[in-house]
């Protein structure tokens, strides 16, 4: 089980079509704006500048 898990690339970053940035895997998220650091495993980050839950996507890009 451990082996199959490790065969995946450690971190994948996906620029979704007209949507947020999805990041998956083992990474450290450092938010310099809000001064915090987390190891979330997976995040959807806003790319349109309109989210009211920055840095995360809240679906505002569809409006």
């Amino acid at each position: 089980m451990e082996e199959t898990k490790n065969d995946k690339p450690e971190v994948s970053v996906e620029v979704t079509d007209r949507g947020p940035l999805r990041i998956c895997g083992n990474f450290i998220l450092k938010d310099l704006q809000r001064d915090n650091e987390t190891v979330p495993g997976e995040v959807w980050l806003c790319r349109c500048g309109q989210s009211s839950d920055k840095p995360f996507c809240d679906g505002s890009h569809r409006k």
């Binding site: 990474f27 998220l29 938010d31 704006q33 500048g49």
Partner: protein, 172 residues
């Protein structure tokens, strides 16, 4: 290094005498660590592990309670690691033997250089490390070491930052 691959991410903390390894994706939040020793393991603090919060003996006892392999430990004195008995359930010898073999060189690449994603103040997302970037718009995949992704929505070089956030006065 081959042995480095078998530890796919995590952080380590030391008090000079022992090193505690934390692998976040193995954690099931059983809460033994912080119920037992909040002085050292405090999920509300950053960094969440403070190795100066208690004695080595207490830290070992608490790490040994972790029901998953999320928390493991070793003596910094490699000689001492060889004679560790099975009572020390979460010693890396029993839980993460690959770390015994990897040694310092193997650990360095993986543990001290994890991928970092930085949200810049009023600016882009900067991703550093070894990652794969998939662009769903044109199905292009690049293996990157550093990229800067637009966060303001105004770049003319999408998905990358071209500095327009300054012109438009992006905040967030």
């Amino acid at each position: 290094m081959e042995t480095g691959k078998t530890f796919s991410g995590g952080r380590k903390y030391t008090n000079g005498e022992i090193t505690v390894y934390w692998k976040p994706d193995a954690c099931i939040h059983a809460t033994y660590c912080y119920r037992e020793l909040i002085e050292v393991f405090d999920p509300g603090r950053r960094p969440w592990v403070d190795m100066t919060g208690a004695s080595t003996e207490k830290i070992i006892k608490t790490v040994n309670m972790c029901p998953t392999e999320a928390l493991t430990w070793k003596w910094n004195d490699e000689e001492k690691n060889k004679s560790v008995g099975p009572g020390q359930t979460n010693h890396i010898k029993f839980r993460r033997p690959e770390l015994m073999e990897a040694g310092e060189a193997g650990e360095k690449g993986i543990l001290e250089n994890p991928v970092t994603v930085k949200i810049m103040k009023d600016g882009p997302i900067v991703i550093k490390g070894s990652f794969e970037l998939i662009n769903a718009g044109n199905n292009k995949v690049i293996s990157g070491s550093i990229v800067s992704i637009c966060r303001c929505g105004k770049s003319h070089q999408m998905p990358f930052c071209d500095g327009h956030h300054r012109k438009v006065g992006f905040e967030g």
